[in-house]
């Protein structure tokens, strides 16, 4: 935490969801919506393919923060995001952002999650505190 100062970038997180990821996340999270797991169903409702769960992508934004804070899950006190567009399996997700406030053991960040240049999470705001 001490090394995160105002204006610093947080370490980028890069992750490429493998073809089976959405099924594993659906089972782990309990979200049964077939637009994430059934290719034929997704196409039947007008989507180009299955899409990522927004809350999985948000979990990547969360992970970028706990990793930036040294790996302690207690460090992440607040995370707010807006979902935009759709994320797709087998395309790299990149989380980037910077520290906008720092002081008294508290850090506030602004981040985005992008895929092929499209922001799929934007206006993410988080608070980290030294545990």
């Amino acid at each position: 935490m001490a090394e995160l100062n105002e204006g610093d970038s947080i370490p980028e997180l890069h992750v490429t969801p493998d073809p089976g990821l959405t099924k594993r996340y659906a089972a782990a999270s309990g979200d049964p919506n077939p637009i994430h797991t059934d290719e034929e169903f997704a196409k039947s409702v007008g989507l180009p393919s299955t899409i990522l769960h927004g809350l999985w992508t948000m979990a990547q934004v969360a992970r970028a923060h706990t990793e930036a804070a040294g790996g302690d899950p207690r460090a992440l006190k607040r995370l707010e995001v807006q979902f935009r567009g759709m994320g797709f399996p087998e395309q790299e997700v990149v989380v980037t952002g910077e520290v906008v406030e720092a002081g008294d053991g508290t850090v506030v960040t602004e981040t985005v999650a992008e895929q092929s240049g499209n922001q799929i999470i934007r206006n993410a705001s988080a608070t980290l505190e030294a545990p």
């Binding site: 782990a28 999270s29 969360a62 992970r63 995370l79 995001v81 979902f83």
Partner: protein
């Protein structure tokens, strides 16, 4: 057609969720949280946790029983097929560990229409077996073509 807002103020739950280590491990693996504190009780205890500790976003798992009732309630009237998740906020307090019992209540905070879309805003508050708050969340769902 204006959206119906009679469900504002309605509550669902309290719903309880028994947190099991295997469910934490399964969730941590799915989201790529690689720390041993999400896998191994001894590693977690060495870091000051009571037991295997959940990643912060595990909040979606223990909130789901109450939130699921809320978004599927006919009185709220969400057209589930046209719903997208618009925004999400969490504020975390006490960490959640294996063996905890988490109790969640959901409340409909706002329903409004903007640009032909319906906005349905819910709050969940989750507490542990000691009565300590573990997370407070705001869920914004958007329904196109209302």
């Amino acid at each position: 057609m204006p959206v119906e807002d009679k469900a504002v103020g309605k509550q669902w739950g309290p719903e309880t969720f028994e947190v099991e280590a295997d469910r934490i491990r399964q969730y941590a693996d799915a989201v790529g949280e690689g720390s041993r504190v999400h896998q191994d009780a001894e590693a977690a205890k060495a870091e000051g946790f009571r037991d295997v500790v959940a990643p912060p976003m595990f909040a979606v798992v223990y909130s789901a029983p109450a939130m699921g009732q809320a978004i599927l309630d006919p009185e709220v009237g969400i057209n589930f097929g046209a719903m997208v998740h618009g925004g999400q906020a969490f504020e975390w307090s006490e960490p959640v560990c294996a063996g905890d019992t988490v109790t969640t209540t959901a409340t409909c905070k706002e329903i409004y229409e903007r640009d032909g879309k319906g906005f349905y805003v819910f709050e969940t508050i989750s507490t542990n077996q000691d009565g300590d708050e573990v997370v407070r969340a705001t869920w914004t769902n958007i329904v196109r073509g209302v």
